[in-house]
């Protein structure tokens, strides 16, 4: 918890503009009305909060997916949320805008891409839910989910193939993810959605624990498996769907963080894993954001690349250290 607070503060203090610590403090506490105040309050603070919320949401939905599918490689996007969202965005950037430049697309407002990706992700989730309610075996759901994602990616690839450079660039930049472009209204929507997802997931910890021993056993313990699946899928859709809608598909956090938490806390009890994942997810995302701002240099890196680059070595290290790790599933 303390770590989160420290990182949150660090994220506000460090950015691509060098601002002295004293000036940051005076910008926050005294109404100095300086340019730095604008940078701190309008750029860094919302970005830091977004990073925190995104980290929490993606890690939590990753944990849920890994448990539901009893698969260590599952993540928030395994059900096709990100490919659904990409399809929505691709339609807007690559499809409708064939005659207009991407900047005028911006002119239509931030919300267009958000709504498009939300609709895309929602449609795919709905399809998965329908399949899941009819199919008994969870592995079938997983495979169908992966097939659906690949199919959608293929459609997006075709759209990319037929678009020109500027459209392609706009789309590629979207896929790289970004944390710093949310208006205060959008940030509020994201906060509320993620809060709802977090509360729902706290209630689901018992179900998740039961699912760990396998759906058949969980059923014999009196768990309504299909209801549990539905609750968890809705929860993941809200968490990962909102994040993807506002920030683009941000990779690896959702897969990596639950593993790190399992090993640190040496448990598979979701009453501990869920709060642990919330904290660790927020912390790692904040670190990623700090790194992506390349403090001291004028340039920035896409946050999506940073999450993968710091996530991968951590997971490899963690897994190699604990050889019988797969026993946790």
């Amino acid at each position: 918890m303390l770590l989160i607070v420290i990182l949150l503060i660090l994220d506000i203090f460090l950015g691509s503009v060098n601002i002295k610590a004293s000036e940051v403090i005076s910008a926050i506490f005294n109404n100095s009305n300086s340019n730095y105040e604008t940078i701190i309050l309008k750029f860094r603070l919302p970005k830091a909060i977004t990073a925190l919320v995104v980290g929490v949401a993606l890690s939590l939905s990753g944990l849920q997916m890994q448990t539901v599918f009893r698969n260590p490689m599952a993540g928030p996007y395994v059900l096709g949320i990100s490919s659904g969202a990409s399809l929505g965005v691709a339609f807007v950037i690559l499809g409708f805008s064939s005659n207009i430049a991407p900047e005028s697309l911006n002119g239509l407002g931030n919300w267009i891409l958000v709504v498009a990706s939300w609709v895309g992700a929602g449609a795919v989730m709905l399809l998965i839910m329908v399949i899941s309610s009819r199919v008994k075996d969870i592995m079938t759901v997983l495979i169908l989910g992966i097939m659906l994602s690949s199919g959608i990616s293929a459609i997006v690839t075709i759209m990319q193939y037929f678009s020109n450079e500027t459209m392609l660039k706009a789309y590629v930049i979207w896929t790289m993810g970004s944390l710093g472009n949310l208006t205060s209204g959008q940030l509020n929507v994201l906060l509320i959605s993620v809060l709802a997802g977090v509360i729902l997931s706290l209630f689901s910890s018992k179900m998740l624990n039961a699912l760990l021993i396998g759906e058949n056993y969980a059923g014999s313990l009196g768990l309504n498996v299909r209801f549990a699946r539905a609750v968890i899928f809705i929860c993941t859709s809200i968490l990962a769907g909102s994040v993807t809608a506002f920030c683009g598909p941000i990779g690896f956090i959702g897969i990596a963080v639950p593993h790190i938490v399992r090993i640190i806390f040496k448990t598979s009890d979701h009453k501990i894993l869920i709060p642990g994942t919330i904290l660790m997810g927020g912390a790692i995302m904040l670190i990623s954001d700090i790194i992506s701002q390349l403090p001291g240099s004028e340039s920035v890196l896409p946050v999506n690349a940073v999450t993968s680059l710091i996530g991968i070595p951590v997971v490899i290290w963690v897994i190699l250290r604990k050889r019988n790790y797969s026993g946790s599933f």
Partner: protein, 381 residues
């Protein structure tokens, strides 16, 4: 990417004396026909019975890549050439152009009817070419990997002029070359000096056997540009600070200090906020960084395809707080556009840089150019 292979260029660098950087837009006007004085990316040499053109490093980041062609006048006896596969018979009768700047130059030479194909008919501004498109005389060959090769064969051009975005572009055209169609890579867009871009008209002059006309267009442009630049220098007292471009999410691609637009702003008596940066490409900067500097800007130019202040607010509401936005000092280069988005700034703008210079100077110093009506730029309200 500076390739200093030709002596005239080195000489120019030595003699240049601009206040801001190695700006070669200065002074000497060549009186020798066919001598390339400013452009860095091509050379042109008259030989006995043919003209040798050499395109140097035709894409961003290329080094040591040269494309050589031998232009032989139709009907003349073939001389012994080093490589007969690189012969182009001139004047060219049918050409496919992939960039609108090519079209402007061909049009200036009065050869617009030789254009039989383009890349993206909707991006064309020239009314003449649009007329020909509507008559079905100009085909759309598509882009990059999607080049419509069958259409290219059907149009059977003497040559295709492409511009490369990378070495892979050469891959796209490999098949076309295999069919015996000559492909020239035009690197005018890589020239960072406004007049160097204009000099590419000499390449077209050679291709259409209109060297003298091409030369006179270039020389007249050089004269007008340099005269105007001196006039600006003598008549301004302050250099307003200029911000360029738009952010995309939290990244703001910033044109470097040695870019085409940066030199125009400097020559027009402005102070581009990133004039000290040196890079051959636009750099992705953090939005907070650009924003902070942007707060000091007096003017804001080249904001994509935006036509109203509301559109800027929709990109990012925080941009509303920039003083240049609040003070209505916002101008964009999209005054001359077609309903499909063809923008003449990208078409004839490269050929007539003195008009661009005058536009920007009028924006930055309205008191100096009271009578000038903007050609390519318009105020954004």
């Amino acid at each position: 990417m500076h390739v200093l292979k030709s002596i005239p260029i080195i000489a120019l660098l030595i003699f240049s004396g601009c206040r801001y950087s190695n700006n070669r837009t200065t002074d000497e006007i060549s009186d020798k026909v066919n001598q390339i004085t400013k452009a860095e990316r091509f050379t042109l040499e008259k030989k006995n019975g043919w003209t040798e053109i050499k395109i140097i490093n035709p894409w961003q980041g290329a080094s040591g890549v040269n494309q050589v062609f031998y232009l032989v006048k139709r009907g003349t006896k073939m001389a012994t050439l080093p490589d007969s596969s690189s012969v182009i018979f001139v004047p060219v009768r049918k050409i496919i152009c992939t960039s609108t700047t090519h079209i402007a130059m061909i049009e200036a030479l009065g050869e617009i009817n030789s254009v039989v194909g383009v890349s993206g008919t909707n991006l064309i501004y020239s009314p003449e070419v649009i007329k020909n498109v509507n008559k079905g005389l100009v085909g759309d060959i598509g882009y990059d990997a999607n080049l419509n090769k069958e259409l290219i064969i059907k149009l059977s051009p003497d040559l295709i002029m492409i511009y490369g975005i990378g070495s892979e572009s050469t891959g796209y055209v490999g098949k076309v070359k295999e069919l015996g169609i000559k492909v020239i890579m035009n690197a005018d867009y890589l020239e960072t000096d406004p007049l160097s871009r204009t000099e590419w008209i000499k390449l077209f002059g050679a291709l259409y056997c209109k060297e003298n006309l091409a030369d006179s267009i270039f020389e007249s442009e050089v004269e007008k540009y340099i005269k105007l630049k001196k006039y600006i220098e003598q008549n301004i007292s302050v250099r307003p600070k200029v911000l360029l471009g738009l952010p995309f999410k939290d990244t703001w691609y910033v044109s470097s200090g040695n870019s085409f637009i940066s030199k125009l702003i400097s020559d027009a008596g402005g102070d581009y906020l990133w004039r000290d940066t040196e890079s051959s490409i636009s750099m992705p900067y953090g939005i907070e960084n650009v924003y902070l500097r942007g707060l000091t800007a007096d003017y804001w130019l080249n904001v994509g395809s935006i036509s109203s202040k509301n559109e800027i607010s929709a990109v990012d509401q925080r941009l509303n707080d920039l003083p240049c936005f609040k003070n209505d000092n916002l101008f964009n280069n999209n005054k001359r556009v077609t309903s499909n988005g063809g923008n003449d700034y990208w078409e004839s703008g490269s050929l007539y840089p003195h008009l661009l210079l005058k536009d920007i100077a009028t924006i930055l110093h309205p008191e100096v150019f009271e009578d000038h009506e903007l050609v390519y730029y318009k105020k954004i309200n």
